[in-house]
Subunit: 886 residues, 2 copies
């Protein structure tokens, strides 16, 4: 038996008791303490709900006893009597969990009515129609929530009677009609659940409590919690409150209002109101609610009171509120207040405005915005108010939305692109051969591949929308169409893709451009004052670098050189280099790549003048630059089958042989990263030379360059020791040749568990560590991201085997623990060691908080996430500060 207090009168509760009283209850208690007009009531705690489940879904005698005691207190407070025939006390019984789960759980109003008390209410109020309305509402809700009788039974009765009496709405029925409604409702209950409706108000109350407890586990609530990652064991509180009646005539009513516009953030009351109605009418849609401004016209006095209350509540909670209220014969009651949900744009405007109005501090403003929400504002996006139904859904591989005509190959994309047409490249998957098509397209849609597939990586790099793994698509490139179910989309048809959600739409869907309001800039400015983490961007191209600076990146944390290798004009040179059979042939190809790479670096360095640029030397396995093996295999088989044994077959067979010798069972764990640099040092030498020559060339323009040269995939200190030697040697040669002086640093990506475990040794040869948490997550978990995300990972997350997708939210216990170990060991060997993160987690707010905590110097993320990271870094700094203060 639980010994803790199971019931709190509103006057006993406090705002910080949300866990115990639920959000609604805690705020009702808080407002009661403030002296605001809240109908009196009490709260049954969430712990009682847990007890209920622990005790085999039984309401204990003990609980009943304290509820009845609280009820007696209510009777005293209100002067009404529960079940009394003269002044009957009516109650609302509502759920209220720690996390708001709007509409997910059940509510019963007007509880306490029966065949006798309804007449008492009629007498007391002198309004029999009102009393009957209350009774039929109660019957209807009780039947729904407690007895589980389908609503349509009752709705049909109401519809029929409205027709019979020619009434536009239920409220327009004559008293005689109400009598009939009630009689027929009772008939329904008698038929569907014989003896189910108790005349005894106490039994009504117990059954209603039981129903609210049970609603914690109704299907809707369970699904909602799963979707929103809310723990299943919290339970719901039950709020039992004296009714305020909005349905006592035209001087009464009920409404819901936001203190500011939740879409735009504009400081103007925003809400809906119904005269002569109870709460559920506003939501139910049977009557169309009026804008709140109508109340201003009809009852300026009450409206005035309401706006004052809104202001008080905003000031008190320091944030925009979402308020339910009722007016009973001209008297205003607040039934609920909570922080209102809002769009990202509104969130920012409100936060900044509140600071201006003195209702909140800058720190509060910074802490109030959910950084993840900002992603909406940083890409073109679907106009949610006008969205048609999605045709298919794939993996959200690169955020943002785009419309265009469907094309099925890269050449067509390029042709149409040059004609100025907007196209979406649709393929089963993309290869390096498709780069020019991706460049020309507005976005990419593939039926296969995960969020690290070629298409995804390239599109993200270019900041283009991309959806991958959309397996509902059946693409027939020869027929130049694709199908989704029975629907056929031909080449040239327009589709819209939303890479933020993964939705594919037929036709053109209106898009909203990215919003960078002055308030947004203001907020980021405040964030920059507070944060201690540096924020950099991952950028491989001039365009990315420019976008990064525009969004406030303080340098580049990861410049991948492989994308430079993949661009159309270079790919043949790269392939030549790979297929070279002698060192001389390879040297020749590399010599031709050198000036191209140098030019790439010059562009990026110029854009990032004065800021550090971290360049990762070539990382992917070489076979990624060659054509697809399966296709080639089929081509060779076909040529042989046709007995065409000419030169084409020979050259394809040669290529196939090379591909076979390069191809790997597990390329993720294969010959890549510094393993390439060690076996083919000439490739890395060329890249180092290109970097150094670019530095020298920009020095002549008096542009300051701060290059950081990063060796990928180091697992053993010897790898870095040797590579560092090679880098220093090549740089010295350039210095000698040019008689220039320049500084740079050499470090490594920490992306293997072994690198973390032996970080002390590695630090001896590193000026910096950059955590590559994508690969580190793959190797720590033993997950191939490409495979896992298409296969078992969704199952894992859905079935709560893992709390989150660890590729999105950093796994602190595993990967994070290794990172922490590495930072400690690295710094203890070399206190000046710079440490950052350049995996995708560098743009995830929760992960940024962790990076701050373990003492990283910077995070680096996609340019589009830089503002998110700036805010998250500020929040991390504030969180830390407040932790220290506590």
């Amino acid at each position: 038996m639980s010994k803790s207090k199971q019931i709190y009168m509103f006057a006993e509760g406090k705002a910080d008791m949300k866990k115990l009283l639920g959000g609604k209850g805690a705020n009702l208690a808080d407002m009661t303490r403030l002296g605001l007009p809240v109908p009196p009531g009490f709260i049954i705690t969430t712990e009682s709900c847990s007890d209920y489940y622990r005790h085999g879904e039984v309401i204990t005698g003990e609980l009943k006893q304290v509820v009845f005691q609280a009820l007696a207190q209510l009777e005293q407070q209100t002067g009404k009597v529960f079940g009394g025939e003269e002044t009957p006390l009516l109650l609302s019984v509502r759920s209220g969990a720690y996390y708001s789960m709007p509409g997910m759980m059940d509510t019963i109003l007007n509880l306490g009515l029966n065949d006798r008390t309804v007449e008492g209410l009629a007498r007391q109020t002198g309004n029999r129609r009102f009393a009957l309305d209350c009774y039929r509402r109660f019957l209807q809700m009780y039947s729904d929530v407690v007895l589980k009788i389908g609503r349509y039974h009752f709705e049909r009765v109401l519809d029929n009677l409205k027709k019979t009496y020619g009434a536009a709405s239920t409220q327009d029925l004559p008293e005689e009609g109400w009598e009939k409604v009630l009689q027929r409702f009772k008939d329904i209950v008698e038929k569907e659940a014989p003896g189910g409706f108790p005349q005894d108000p106490y039994r009504q109350l117990i059954e209603a409590m039981r129903a609210v407890f049970a609603s914690w586990n109704n299907d809707r609530a369970v699904v909602y919690r799963k979707l929103n990652r809310i723990p299943d064991d919290l339970g719901t509180a039950v709020n039992i409150q004296t009714m305020g009646f909005g349905n006592m005539g035209e001087d009464s009513g009920t409404g819901v209002a936001f203190t500011r516009n939740p879409s735009t953030g504009e400081k103007k009351l925003y809400g809906e109101f119904l005269f002569d109605a109870q709460g559920e009418d506003v939501v139910a849609g049977s009557r169309t609610p009026l804008p709140i401004s109508v109340l201003q016209d009809k009852n300026p006095q009450v409206y005035g009171q309401f706006t004052l209350l809104c202001d008080i509540l905003e000031k008190h909670y320091g944030d925009m509120q979402d308020i339910e209220f009722t007016i009973e014969k001209g008297v205003l009651y607040i039934l609920q207040t909570r922080t209102g949900k809002r769009t990202a744009g509104a969130a920012i405007k409100i936060a900044v405005d509140l600071v201006g109005e003195g209702k909140s501090s800058k720190e509060e403003a910074l802490l109030r915005i959910d950084p993840a929400q900002l992603v909406q504002l940083l890409h073109r996006r679907i106009d949610l108010s006008q969205t048609p139904e999605a045709m298919a859904k794939g993996l959200p591989a690169s955020p943002g939305a785009a419309s265009g005509k469907v094309v099925f190959d890269a050449d067509a994309a390029e042709d149409k692109g040059q004609e100025g047409q907007k196209v979406i490249l649709v393929r089963s998957e993309t290869t390096p051969d498709d780069i020019h098509g991706i460049v020309a397209a507005q976005g990419v849609l593939t039926s296969r591949g995960g969020v690290t597939s070629h298409a995804a990586v390239v599109a993200r790099g270019m900041g283009k929308p991309c959806i991958t793994g959309c397996d509902a698509l059946r693409i027939d490139p020869r027929g130049a169409f694709f199908q989704v179910g029975d629907r056929v989309i031909n080449e040239g048809d327009v589709i819209t893709i939303d890479g933020t959600s993964g939705n594919v739409y037929a036709g053109e869907v209106p898009l909203i451009p990215p919003l960078l309001s002055s308030e947004f800039k203001q907020l980021l400015c405040w964030a920059d004052e507070v944060r201690t983490l540096q924020v950099r961007a991952n950028a491989d191209t001039l365009k990315d670098a420019r976008k990064a600076r525009e969004f406030g990146a303080e340098g580049i944390g990861l410049c991948r050189t492989e994308h430079m290798f993949m661009e159309t004009e270079r790919l043949p040179l790269v392939q030549e280099m790979i297929l070279a059979e002698t060192v001389e042939e390879r040297a020749a190809a590399l010599n031709r790549l050198l000036p191209i790479q140098q030019a790439d670096f010059e562009l990026i360095f110029r854009e990032m003048a004065g800021f550090p640029v971290n360049i990762r030397l070539l990382d992917p396995p070489l076979h990624e630059f060659l054509p697809d093996k399966e296709e080639l295999l089929v081509q060779v088989a076909c040529l042989k089958e046709r007995d065409e044994r000419g030169e084409e077959l020979q050259s394809k067979e040669r290529l196939l042989t090379k591909l076979r010798s390069l191809s790997e069972q597990n390329p993720m764990l294969g010959h890549r990263g510094c393993r390439i640099g060690l076996v083919y040092p000439e490739i890395y030498r060329m890249q180092v030379r290109a970097i150094c020559q670019a530095v020298v060339s920009l020095q002549q323009e008096t542009i300051t360059v701060k290059p950081e040269i990063m060796i990928p995939l180091v697992g053993h200190f010897r790898e870095l020791e040797i590579m560092r030697e090679i880098v220093l040697e090549e740089a010295s040669r350039v210095k000698e040749e040019t008689a220039a002086r320049f500084d740079f640093t050499v470090g490594t990506m920490i992306e293997l568990p072994r690198a973390c475990v032996t970080a002390g040794e590695i630090a001896r040869y590193a000026d910096f560590f950059s955590f590559g948490t994508n690969d580190l997550t793959q190797t720590t978990f033993g997950f191939s991201r490409d495979d896992a995300e298409g296969k078992f990972l969704p199952f894992y997350v859905q079935n709560k085997i893992l709390p989150e997708n660890p590729f999105i939210v950093l796994d602190r216990e595993g990967v994070g623990s290794l990172m922490n170990q590495a930072v400690r060991a690295g710094r203890s060997e070399k206190p000046t060691l710079k440490a950052g993160i350049c995996g995708e987690h560098g743009g995830d707010p929760g992960s940024i908080e962790f990076c701050h905590r373990i003492g990283l110097d910077y995070v680096s993320c996609s340019p589009f996430r830089v503002p998110i990271a700036r805010l998250a870094a500020a929040q991390a700094a504030l969180g830390k500060r407040s932790e220290q203060e506590l």
Copy 2:
């Protein structure tokens, strides 16, 4: 300038100064202290050699000074004068490193001779022929070692003069001939290196020292060190010793002897001897040495002295010795002694015999055998005395040797096998379809794949010899032949493969059966008394289990269930299960697999009665049980090209679709291990049921079964928590159905870095941890073993980027550190946690020592390595003890 002592007189050195004095020097010093007949001398330390390299390959004045001082002492001791014309002191100058590097570095004898001292020597000895012989030997060796003049110059002169004088050997030349030899030798030196030969003995000595220091880095020595993993920075000592002359006539001579037979271990002097000769004659091959027994006949007195010395040295060093000696006019001198190299068989016999003779303790015997060497004795092997040249070399994938007729497909192998023929299955690579062929074959040879390829894994499982990745093979299965270079081997031709070395031989090569001598058994018996680590075997079949018991395994540490799935008659059922489109279809296939699995387990449990059997539930990705995708792709392409669009195409396309949906970018990191058990719990349930029913069935025969159920690839405690629940549930069902009672444990393989890092949480749900160090090494390093071993890993080891192949020798700093972390965390959560290792490292002696050190309870290895592991475990226990004693 180095302050430490650079020179040790023999009487100053000690046996434990090998690092400083080299092996040869330390033993010479030691023997001198013992009072044995060693010609006096001194040692220049290995540190001086390092100094020499540090100082730019210069012999410092300081070093010269101390050498000359030591020389003065020698003069006093011997009463001879270096460079003296009356009693000239002659020296041998020999290298001597810490690790014995026989024949790799240089030696100069008779140093100190010049045109004047040679006459003094002649006078002093009254033997001018002898003096001239010494001088020509010195000229020849000095020219070779210091002046680098090709030996053939000198050999030609000797040959010509032998012809002229009709002399059978150089020793038979008349004095006049010797004069000519000397003159012509001087002419050669004058021509090839004018002024190169110094008459000054002091200069001779300095140049000889320089040459010995330099010989540390000659090509032979560098290659030898690389092959034997000897560090490059140790340097060599220089031994400068008074000459003992074996070339003073028939009462003189020189020889090399082992105190026991190094091939068989027999306790009988074994060696070679030459009368009237110096050391190099025995090695050079210009004269054929005589067996040492000849000495017994010719000079029984000296022979008697020598056997006594041998006995003293054996007793002193507690081991069989390899001794160089010289007899100068009937007086015996020992020039060198060292522990003699021997075969594995001899090693065991000698060790055990020495204990019997009271020359060594059991502990010393155990510590003396290199466990790795035992592998020779545990498989059939090539008779090294008769080995022809290998035709090709691949990866040594499964040890042992076998001969048989070449067949190119599994069906042919099975057919011929049933006819009683011995066959070797030769394929580019094998798939599960080939299992019946592997079963029927004596061994497997593939041109592709690494040492964890299908062929390798299966062959090792079956204990059959296998060579993989033998890329010199060009196989034409249609033509029924393969080529190596120009050589063609047709189907039916006999070849021999040696899976221990990777060598492929044409024809049948004599093989030696495994040797399990009584001494071997005795040694293992002693090992068992000492060791604290339990030794188990990895065994999937009855045959393996039987072999495991035979070799003394105390249970099974890893019984993989996938090989049971792959056997010919089951594979179709397994495929049916995988291709099932409904749960019912899958259930039906599983129901038919159940009795088969149960029977498998019964066989193994019966064999292992009373011992624990650790069964790993299904681990590999499901696509491993389906046909090869590439082949299917080509087949489909060909059918389409031929426009054969019938049923065959349809069914193949269906299969291809399934394969595509199952195929993965990185199967090693894909949907396997418990990820299969979580998504398809019915598969694991069937396996658990099969285990439990087998236990119940054997209980009826009163056989004790100790099953351990192992969940593979756990990375997050939730995975184990859920799987454990399923296992317990299924076991309870069997208990209920059968009313039987039985115990079992549930644990997990620790094979992911995350499992190590979060081992504390995981231990809550585990009765045991079994380290799967193969996969743990792959994920910790980010190495795909299949890819790495064929590509960059050999490069890494050769270039000393990694000290060893971490798949063979456990990487203590990385993988080992994670294991240690896991054991600590696991035991601190659950002190009773049992911990073992079942990766291939479980059979590697060095790794076993590490396992002992971090407190594992057992190691598990292939049945054939069980004796090795027993010995290694004993050594680990002894090592620990002696560490504690120190």
